[in-house]
């Protein structure tokens, strides 16, 4: 038995640590920014409205037909095809994107995970509608974290909808187990201590006229320019895609790359992307990375180069052909 004092010491060392919150950090950064560059008397602020509407519309006309959908955090998942709904007038404010909840899909109970060598998140999903639901008609948002806001999660994934055991559409009244295997390694495994959440949304509806309810995500005040895409690895095995963008902080506050997410969208067979959640789009999600020696904080007006590393499963060839588009969202 340990000495009493030793046990006291161990108890002290095991005391929980109050986390240093992002909101506190930002309060301080803002205060420091104000000290370093005094606020002008008119307090003008650049409006974010109009920025992303124009950006996405410049991608071109809606891609009719088939496509791929899904994504990862630092991992994988891809594929499938579904008809594209007809485009209607956008009603989502241009500084937000809209997500339409898939009301016909009910997550039964709490999602759970198996934290084995390949940690996998599971959720039991029931089709409560009267129609079969194809996995491409919906997309899933999975995150690990204590917050109900996916954008505040430790990891964020946009992936497929559920399927039956035979990979076919989920029939009315049927229940299936949706799952997603995370590619987390080393120190990042600590994120598995956070509760998993899974929600489903209707694909191809963002920016379209749609009835409530709608979940909106804020766009980060960032513009971007595609620089390059490099594919390495074995086309028959795991491929790695590095996509480089130049991004500019168009807001009035410093932005850390850890405070926003990039949704990197690959079109299907070079069809133009109409919207980020089109069924024909493959979406990867992660915080951007910067090179060594580059600050992770982007000052207002500053432009820096960032990159994403995506892992792509074997048998996927489009990554070498398709030019991606990126949008940035923030809590």
């Amino acid at each position: 038995m340990k000495d009493f004092e030793q046990q006291i010491e161990q108890g002290l060392r095991d005391m929980p640590e109050i986390p240093f919150s992002e909101s506190l950090r930002w309060d301080i950064l803002e205060a420091a920014h104000a000290l370093g560059a005094p606020q002008a008397s008119d307090g003008r602020h650049q409006s974010k409205r109009g920025r992303w509407r124009g950006k996405w519309q410049s991608f071109g006309v809606s891609a009719a037909g088939l496509g791929v959908a899904a994504a990862v955090v630092a991992g994988i998942l891809v594929n499938h095809h579904a008809p594209q709904p007809a485009a209607t007038m956008a009603t989502i404010p241009a500084d937000e994107i809209g997500l339409k909840p898939a009301q016909g899909l009910q997550v039964v109970g709490q999602p759970w995970y198996d934290s084995g060598t390949s940690p996998t998140i599971y959720a039991t999903v029931k089709n409560t509608s009267s129609q079969p639901i194809n996995k491409t008609q919906v997309y899933s948002v999975m995150w690990l974290g204590k917050s109900d806001n996916p954008l505040k999660g430790w990891s964020l994934v946009l992936a497929d909808g559920p399927t039956e055991a035979d990979r076919g559409p989920l029939q009315p009244g049927h229940t299936a187990t949706w799952h997603f295997t995370l590619n987390v390694a080393g120190a990042h495994r600590e994120i598995l201590g956070n509760p998993p959440h899974v929600k489903f949304f209707v694909a191809g509806q963002s920016g379209h006229q749609m009835p409530e309810p709608v979940v909106t995500w804020n766009l980060a005040p960032i513009t971007s320019e595609f620089i390059s895409r490099t594919v390495t690895g074995d086309p028959n095995g795991l491929q790695y895609v590095r996509v480089i963008y130049k991004i500019t902080n168009t807001g009035s506050k410093p932005l850390s790359i850890n405070d926003f997410w990039g949704i990197d969208c690959f079109p299907d067979h070079n069809r133009p992307i109409h919207n980020w959640d089109d069924p024909g789009v493959t979406r990867y999600v992660d915080h951007p990375n910067v090179g060594k020696g580059t600050s992770k904080v982007i000052a207002p007006g500053q432009t820096i180069e960032v990159y994403f590393n995506w892992h792509v499963p074997s048998g996927i060839s489009w990554v070498a052909d398709e030019k991606p588009q990126v949008l940035f969202v923030q809590p």
């Binding site: 006291i8 060392r13 109050i18 420091a32 370093g36 606020q39 009035s252 007006g301």
Partner: protein
């Protein structure tokens, strides 16, 4: 580094200012939790601890050019933290906001910060640490909770290493006495 163009009507920051902001952010990422937890150990009030943290980092930001690197950034920041916390403990404010703090925390929802604060405040060991006089409590927190060496603690508190060792020894004895009086046993821990 590229030039900066402020778009909100502020004066553009120069390169030096921008570098300092980036440096500040790095310090917060590395030492924010140290500063927050040490501040909280002094004042046991989360809102006040946050105020101290803000004060510490803004002081460090404005005095960045005076930091010569004789000590580590961590000990420098914690030295400011200890001094600011003791200033606040001596002030009128610290003696008059405890009840407000409880109300405020109760209304903030289940944040990770609140969860940990709740856990701490329900820990009998933490309660025992909190009963120690400040001069003993601070060495216990810095040594065990922040895992600093005797030499680092001596730098932070402006004392000799021998003095810190003595305080730590006495603090352990006091903790043992407090916990024993409460009926704690080996198994209780």
């Amino acid at each position: 580094m590229r030039g900066l163009l402020a778009s909100d009507g502020r004066q553009p920051m120069n390169q030096f200012q921008q570098q300092n902001i980036e440096q500040l952010d790095e310090w917060m990422r590395h030492y924010g939790a140290d500063v927050l937890n040490v501040a909280y150990s002094y004042v046991r009030n989360y809102a006040q601890a946050q105020d101290i943290v803000q004060d510490v980092f803004l002081r460090a930001f404005t005095k960045m050019d005076t930091f010569r690197g004789q000590s580590s950034v961590r000990t420098w920041l914690l030295s400011i933290t200890a001094n600011r916390s003791k200033d606040l403990l001596r002030s009128w404010t610290a003696k008059h906001v405890t009840v407000e703090e409880q109300v405020e925390l109760g209304e903030t929802g289940d944040t990770p910060e609140k969860t940990v604060v709740d856990r701490l405040e329900h820990s009998e060991l933490w309660e025992a640490v909190s009963q120690l006089p400040v001069k003993y409590r601070e060495v216990v927190v810095l040594f065990y909770l922040r895992e600093l060496s005797g030499q680092e603690i001596a730098e932070i508190l402006g004392a000799t290493e021998q003095n810190i060792r003595t305080r730590l020894h006495r603090a352990r004895g006091m903790l043992k006495e407090i916990l024993t009086q409460r009926g704690w046993t080996h198994e209780g821990l």
